[in-house]
């Protein structure tokens, strides 16, 4: 096989591999989800933002501040805490929505019952 033919064959192989790689990337079922996730991280929000400990502290009652772990990652526990907080707050403001008053606006959650 002369040099030209060999070179041509090598170029064909490279093109074929490149095409295959592109095709596999295109057919990747996770691609739309990754693209969507990239779109949904808003621009301008710094990756190293306020920090999850600060976020958790914001939702804590004043007397509880300082008791949260120093470095809480945005893990499932924190997410569950956030979700629970949102649901609790919605339940607490439900009365205000139907009967607005200062009392119903600042209604606090009852502490859990304890057995003695």
């Amino acid at each position: 096989m002369n040099a030209t033919a060999f070179l041509g064959f090598a170029v064909l192989v490279v093109i074929g591999i490149t095409f295959l790689a592109l095709l596999l990337e295109f057919l990747d079922p996770e691609r739309p989800a990754r693209r969507e996730a990239r779109k949904r991280i808003p621009e301008g929000i710094p990756v190293a933002g306020p920090g999850p400990a600060l976020v958790a502290a914001f939702f804590a009652k004043p007397h509880e501040r300082g008791m949260l772990p120093a470095s809480a990652g945005f893990d499932e526990d924190l997410f569950a805490f956030l979700q629970h907080h949102v649901k609790t707050e919605q339940a607490l403001v439900a009365e205000f929505v139907h009967l607005p008053s200062i009392d119903s606006l600042y209604r606090q959650a009852r502490p859990p019952l304890t057995m003695h």
Binding site: A37, P62, E89, V97, L105
Partner: protein, 165 residues
Amino acid sequence: MDVLLDRGALFEGLNEEGARRLSEIAIRRTVKAGEYLFFLGDNADRLYVVTSGNMELCFPIPIGGDVKDVAVESVGVGQALGWSALVKPYRFTLSARATRPSEVVGFSRRDLLDLFDTEPAAGCAFFTRISEVVGLRLLTFQAMWVRELQRALEAEAQRQKGTGA
């Protein structure tokens, strides 16, 4: 379609012809559990009504490069979601996903407005109900925001008291 035309639902007051036209403009869609119907920021040109299953509305919170969707409202059978399709700038302000296999019926803004042009009484009832849905969302979030503001101010006041500032 019976779910949509039940007494007290969005399309109360439609006569037979109106109900027939409503069926014609309805687009059914199946949504798998965990699948999103629309995302916050998407172009909103269609109002949806849940006909089976359950949807939840959520907003994304980005933390450290990771984005989590926090559920803020549950939408059950007969209830509407996507009223942003009727309110400028016609962009969804929350994301919607199915909590279990669900079916929704979508109505485009243009088709609805055309229908209510010829059925003004039904249109009036429809927009009255939509305004109730919108008002409920506004009041809920307004109250939640004021409560968080109060907590933040109280914490700051205690901090200042503690530092003697």
